[in-house]
């Protein structure tokens, strides 16, 4: 499913003394079956933008079109049902989307709601719980009596159980342990590659942008200040620095080596790329010495 956003503005509590402008003149396109990373500082408007994608927020002015559903300030909530079915949304804080009595019921909610029998829905839930690494011992517990990372996993499982076509992920790995983080990012990547889900990821982890995304949008103070590809964005450390954004760890590390005189033609984005380049340089060295 593709997304087209045109001149979108959003003002919180519009028309009150507390009105607060969060998005200004945002226009962008997200093609079907792409993996988009949205990056930017605290408060730059990333979550506000995401919440438009399933109609949780409606533009104050301007519009967005998700496949054939156009959403403007006038769109009625019931016109959004079809859209919401296809857009899976993992919120920044997982508690915000948990509500059932047990973990299993929580995950089974969407499949049941979309017409699966109780039994089928439960089977899907058990499968999803396994997929996100939840231990069996928590399945009958209340989702609110879990650790932070376990809640996160339940929220993700519940969204996957919807079988969405677009996956909207707002810092989905915050609170996960490193192993869980990696497994979850690899799983999203598989869904993207094998089942062709369109993925939109908000993250502060430049490593994830370098490793997974094919499209990057940079937000600053409610505006889109760059719309590009990872290799492109990370080839300009000066620009990133000026906007207080970081580099992937590998690129930053390689830049330090470069400063000391190690010759890189282009700065690598991933560990494997860097290790391969360094190994080549060292083997050349070794060969030179031996010969």
């Amino acid at each position: 499913m593709s997304i087209h956003i045109e001149k979108l503005n959003y003002v919180y509590q519009s028309g009150t003394p507390f009105s607060h402008r969060a998005l200004t003149d945002v226009s962008l396109d997200i093609a079907d079956n792409t993996y988009t990373a949205i990056i930017g500082h605290t408060g730059s408007g990333k979550s506000t933008l995401l919440q438009h994608l399933n109609g949780l927020l409606k533009p104050t002015s301007g519009s967005l079109t998700v496949e054939n559903n156009k959403i403007t300030a006038e769109t009625k909530n019931k016109e959004l049902n079809d859209l919401r079915r296809h857009v899976g949304f993992v919120f920044q804080f997982p508690e915000a989307q948990l509500f059932e009595e047990t973990v299993l019921k929580d995950i089974a909610f969407a499949p049941k709601n979309f017409g699966k029998s109780d039994e089928e829905a439960e089977q899907i839930a058990v499968k999803m719980a396994k997929l996100v690494g939840l231990p069996d011992s928590v399945l009958q517990k209340s989702p609110f009596e879990l650790s932070g990372g376990q809640m996160r996993r339940v929220a993700i499982a519940g969204v996957l159980a919807m079988e969405p076509q677009i996956l909207v992920l707002d810092e989905p790995t915050a609170g996960l342990d490193p192993k869980g983080r990696l497994e979850m990012m690899e799983m999203f990547d598989r869904l993207h590659k094998e089942q062709h889900l369109t993925i939109i990821l908000v993250t502060h982890q430049m490593n994830d942008v370098a490793n997974y995304a094919d499209h990057v949008i940079v937000m600053e103070k409610g505006r889109v200040i760059a719309d590009s590809q990872p290799a492109e964005i990370f080839s300009d450390p000066e620009w990133l620095k000026a906007h207080h954004l970081g580099l992937p760890q590998t690129t930053a590390f390689a830049a330090k080596l470069q400063q000391q005189g190690v010759p890189f033609k282009t700065l690598p984005l991933t560990e494997a790329q860097l290790a391969a380049q360094l190994a080549d340089m060292m083997n050349e060295q070794g060969g030179g010495l031996r010969g």
């Binding site: 605290t42 932070g148 490193p178 970081g246 330090k256």
Partner: protein
Amino acid sequence: MSGIIDIKDLCFRYSQENEELDLSHIDLHVNEGEWLAVIGHNGSGKSTLAKAIDGLIAPEAGEIYIDGEKLTDQSLWNIRKKIGMVFQNPDNQFVGADVEGDVAFGLENQGIEREEMHARVKEALEVVGMQDFAQHEPVRLSGGQKQRVAIAGVLALRPKIVIFDESTSMLDPEGRMQIISLIRQLNKKEGFTVLSITHDIDEASLADRVIVVDDGKIIDDSLPQDLFQKGNQLIEIGLDVPYPQRLKGELAQRGIDLPQEYMDEGSLVNWLCRSILKN
């Protein structure tokens, strides 16, 4: 020597029906002024340990001493004044109608006089970079802004012990490092004790000491450099390996011979430069 936190054989379970203990025979001694990082996989018991120290849950066995005083129903209120805790989800701790009021709330409760209170609120909001949002409603902030305000609320109280439960997990890397280094400076200058629960290996590497929690037990208690040398063993218990260690692994796979000992970023950069640019 008595520490600021002393835990002896602490056991806890959330429900009598649980066969396994959620905290199992915990012994922990923390010195005043120490910065202790607490790491471990999801569900290992880190937040539960923090809640026990703050007297929010009652142990089934064992004892907790805070600043030399035993934690009991009677001493609870006195002890809590010494502890400031930032919860994993900041929404669970906002009480004020606006950011300023929220940060001031705990101070009002402690009977701090107005002038002093204003000064402390202002200072705390500046440390976390939220002075421009003083009049905003805490629940109507972005994720990272909420975390900043929650941290300010605890800093303003100037407690003897600060517990951060993944309190910077939603900050951008630059903002996170700024806040952490500011708190680190305060910790060195004012001598309060920090317990920082984190999944961020870089943050943990700044600590004086790191404990690893697994299945409700403390399974490791080391200096950061000693812990991170364990490489793949860390991954097995669900932890990350610091970047230089990971890169060393990738290089080793490609047949490059590297020194065995733990190398931080600077020493790995130096070593690589020497090997590549040796003529």
